[in-house]
């Protein structure tokens, strides 16, 4: 059972992020290789989500650069990020609650729609054919995530674990090369976590998607990640395979605390 991990696809160099006097991130560097599962972990307030937001273009880092597929940026633009093939899910679910599962995932296809708004609205010209093609992609995602039973259900009526799955589905609809997952397992019970792990691994496996995830649950992270970055107080304190990180003194003290 070997997995092909490719070259560096995303390289984060010396990123710092300040909010006024607060230093959220200080001089962070790490890279992500193609087809790997890369985790960013750390205690509360360590700067994990901020890191993701920098990659995603939501925040503009004060210093440093991000290189994606050979192109270097000193800040990312969120629309451009999506077009380049980086998708993300959200910690606090940003779904359209009143819309069906199907429509929510369909919104993920938006970037790939060629026909203009008017054509789409009136379903004229190539718009209808296009919609059928997109629907097919969406159906494959629904099948993949095993949410066929909820295709027409408004998202707001679904339990939290399933909403998380829809969120993942929408990100997948973008057919991303890199998928950023912000705490995909937060607030889930053990069974839902196991399901989610399986989906993440299957996405990585079936589509070859590179995955960057933030996670609290150490057990989960160690099981599914190829490499782990550990942040604490906005600084990188560890980087390596799960085993290396697990035995890293600094990481242990950050998580368990030390007597000073």
């Amino acid at each position: 059972m070997s997995k092909k991990i490719g070259d560096v696809i995303l390289d984060v160099k010396n990123i710092s992020l300040r909010f006024g006097g607060v230093k959220a991130l200080t001089d962070i560097s790490f890279n992500v290789k193609e087809h790997e599962v890369r985790a960013i972990i750390g205690p509360n307030g360590a700067g994990k989500s901020s890191m993701l937001n920098c990659i995603n273009g939501v925040y503009t880092p004060s210093e440093g650069s991000i290189t994606f597929r050979g192109q270097t940026f000193d800040h990312m633009d969120s629309h451009q990020v999506a077009t380049m093939g980086i998708a993300r899910t959200f910690q606090n679910l940003a779904l359209f609650k009143g819309m069906s599962v199907l429509d929510n995932i369909m919104t993920g296809r938006n970037l790939r729609m060629k026909s203009n708004l008017l054509m789409q609205a009136l379903r004229i010209g190539p718009a209808e054919q296009e919609e059928i093609r997109h629907r097919e992609k969406v159906e494959r995602i629904i099948d993949f995530l095993e949410i066929q039973a909820f295709r027409k259900t408004p998202v707001g009526q679904l339990p939290y674990g399933l909403q998380k799955r829809v969120d993942l589905g929408r990100a997948l609809a973008l057919e991303p090369q890199v998928l950023l997952l912000d705490e995909p397992m937060a607030g889930m019970n053990v069974e839902e976590k196991q399901d989610m792990c399986r989906f993440i691994l299957d996405v990585n496996d079936e589509f070859g998607t590179t995955i960057v995830l933030i996670e609290h649950d150490m057990g989960v992270v160690m099981d599914i990640s190829d490499r782990v970055v550990v942040l604490d107080y906005g600084k990188k304190i560890g980087d390596g395979t799960p085993d290396e990180v697990r035995n890293n003194e600094e990481v242990i003290s950050a998580y368990l605390g030390t007597s000073h």
């Binding site: 059972m1 066929q148 079936e206």
Partner: protein, 660 residues
């Protein structure tokens, strides 16, 4: 007592399953054979496609080394390719064994080794993992083919390949040897072994029930003739194919009638798919019908006042006239008018919502069905009926004719079946659909199959005045009263328990009476139903134990018991089984405490020992009894519950026959 209502005319077709397939493929190649919902759309497989898929599969399996007479295991839910696999195996003279897809890995070891299985065709990763887990214990497994490749990309186990690859290899072989497949099919005889089904015994290892092509096809035919099934039926295949019922409905009868079998998208979408397909021929165990009814009732309670009022009014109309109408009798002008209105406003939309608009024949079997539940469906115009049969009889033994469906009988013997009641009350069956034997288990075969061809069902029952079979209990549980007014009367504990359990307020019942002078029962109330009842009466209670001992609750339960007694009194054989005394238990019977089996059946003997003081009190006439019981909590801790229980007498009735 020998009873046979139908002649054998029309029966005795000498064929095999692959020949039936080829017949449909040549006669009506473009008619739909199966539909499978995939990516949100129903995809149709026509008979010609099916035949070709089976041919390729058979060629592929032949190339992989499957030989005549060898067993092949199929594990998974209802998928066209898995059905094709069974046909492909049978085409080569091999014997398919469908196994339950939700069985745990260790449970598969015995069947695999018992039948020396080398070939497994499974649905997906879950099943592959299961087989790989037990591969060490079943070293003979040489080939595992999977239908759905998801998650299996990285697997690198010897002998593991996809059905896709198997079909591709088979297609090449079929091109090179165009006559091979037909020649193989020609070699088979109708009396060859066609399939094997494992039944879980309550004790010991499961037993492989061996059926020939003939025994299965013959029963498929008997059932089809009985209900006049045609090639226009639509069936939804959603129960495990390893269960012989599903296998008859979506395989044997599918091939016999040539109708369409629809495979749902996933287990979770069954109710949605049911609505979309609108089957004409439908089967479900009682619990499914109950679940559907509950969901309707809950949604009705949330509906607006007008809708709710209309629903309740017309449901009363349905209760009054529906069953009579379903029996094919006149309901008069007023009744007819009201029912037609009700049908327009309520029953029609309701049937549509349940996915039963087109149902021509619906069956339920497996366990006793409550009379209210049964007549609910019949009263809204669903032709729900019961049947009797088992794995060993290839299902069809008794069926209810269209206008003679009753909740407490299981119908009349169907074509080819002879029924005899042994002296101990056991039902004996002679039918062309009987098993050939248990696989490699002559001892067990001899126990159930006598030399002159009678199969011992181990069910106790009798044929009533109208020729309908009535099942009362398992033979080993049927006892006799001893002493007292009804000395020597038959006592069927499960029959009494079920009758009581049909009341929504009663959850569990344990009945005693064997070798005793009268019948006494211990009852568990349904805390939700009774709690609701109590709330509506402003009756405060602290919890289960408190609620159970309220005198109002005793009154409620007493009514139920007496209704059952009145009912039993009308039954010549079981009038003696009327309940004289009862008590309501202070705790719910629980599988964690060993009082129920994992499938929620009461363990009568164990409970009698554990609650010995209560049983004694029931029989010595005490009106109160103190009891303390150990309970196990879900986290493994133990505690104890104690209470002083009331014991109550119930009115019994003189048997109707005698009194008249």
């Amino acid at each position: 007592m020998v009873f046979c209502r139908y002649t054998k005319q029309g029966l005795g077709m000498q064929t095999t399953f692959p020949r039936l397939l080829l017949k449909h493929a040549s006669e009506r190649p473009t008619a739909p054979a199966m539909r499978e919902k995939e990516y949100g759309i129903w995809q149709t497989i026509h008979w010609a496609d099916m035949a070709q898929m089976v041919e390729h599969m058979a060629c592929g399996l032949h190339q992989a080394g499957l030989t005549r007479g060898e067993h092949l295991v199929v594990v998974g839910s209802n998928r066209p390719r898995l059905y094709a696999t069974m046909l492909a195996a049978q085409s080569l003279g091999a014997i398919p064994i469908p196994l339950y897809q939700d069985a745990a890995a260790p449970e598969c070891v015995f069947p695999l080794n018992n039948a020396e299985v080398r070939f497994c065709v499974v649905e997906d990763q879950e099943q592959v993992d299961k087989l790989l887990e037990i591969r060490e214990q079943c070293p003979q497994i040489a080939h595992i083919f999977y239908d759905d490749p998801r998650g299996l990309r990285k697997y690198d186990e010897p002998g593991l390949a996809s059905v896709e690859e198997l079909l591709a290899a088979g297609a090449v072989f079929a091109k090179q040897h165009p006559d091979f497949y037909l020649a193989e099919v020609e070699k088979a005889h109708t009396d060859d072994v066609g399939a094997m089904f494992f039944t879980s015994g309550t004790t010991g290892n499961p037993k492989g029930v061996v059926h020939t092509h003939n025994s299965l096809i013959n029963r498929a035919e008997a059932g089809a003739l009985f209900d006049k099934l045609t090639s226009h039926e639509d069936v939804l295949a959603y129960l495990p194919p390893a269960w012989i019922g599903q296998n008859i409905f979506s395989y044997a009868q599918w091939l016999y009638c040539g109708y369409v079998v629809n495979c749902p998208e996933s287990a979770a979408t069954v109710t949605i798919d049911l609505k979309e397909v609108g089957p004409t021929y439908y089967f479900a165990p009682p619990r499914v019908f109950e679940g559907l009814l509950t969901s309707v009732m809950i949604r009705m309670e949330d509906a607006g006042a007008i809708k709710r009022g209309m629903f309740h009014y017309f449901m009363d109309v349905a209760r009054k006239y529906g069953p009579t109408k379903m029996d094919g009798k006149s309901i008069g002008l007023v009744g007819g008018l009201l029912y037609t209105l009700g049908n327009f406003f309520v029953y029609g939309p309701l049937r549509n919502n349940l996915g039963m608009s087109r149902v021509r024949v619906a069956y339920t079997a497996g366990e006793a069905i409550g009379p209210d539940l049964f007549s609910f469906y019949r009263s809204i115009g669903v032709n729900l009926k019961q049947l009797y049969g088992s794995t060993e009889t290839a299902v069809f033994v008794c069926l209810q004719p269209d206008h003679e469906a009753r909740a407490d009988t299981v119908g009349v013997p169907c074509a080819g079946v002879e029924i005899k009641v042994a002296d101990n009350g056991e039902i004996l069956v002679k039918s062309p659909g009987l098993l050939k034997g248990y696989y490699k288990n002559d001892k067990a075969t001899e126990e159930v199959l006598t030399a002159d061809g009678w199969y011992h069902t181990s069910d106790a029952g009798f044929l009533d005045a109208h020729g309908h079979l009535k099942i009362i209990d398992r033979v080993k549980d049927v006892g006799r009263l001893k002493g007292g007014a009804n000395d020597g009367a038959m006592f069927a504990p499960k029959y009494v328990e079920n009758k009581l359990k049909f009341f929504p307020h009663i959850k569990e019942v344990v009945a005693y009476g064997d070798q005793r002078e009268k019948v006494c029962v211990m009852i568990n109330i349904d805390v939700e139903a009774v709690g609701n009842w109590a709330e509506r009466r402003n009756l405060p209670y602290a919890g289960y134990t408190d609620l159970a001992q309220k005198s109002e609750v005793y009154g409620l339960i007493q009514e139920c018991v007496e209704k059952v007694n009145a009912d039993l009194a009308a039954d010549a054989l079981l009038a003696g089984s009327q309940v004289s005394r009862f008590l309501v238990l202070h705790k719910e019977l629980d599988a964690d405490d060993g009082e129920l089996t994992r499938t929620n059946k009461v363990r009568r003997g164990f409970i009698a020992e554990k609650y010995d003081a209560l049983v004694t009190a029931l029989y010595n006439g005490a009106t109160e009894q103190f009891i303390e019981t150990q309970v196990k909590f879900e986290d493994g801790r133990t505690g104890s519950v104690s209470a002083t229980l009331k014991l109550s007498d119930a009115k019994t009735f003189a048997p109707v026959g005698k009194a008249a």
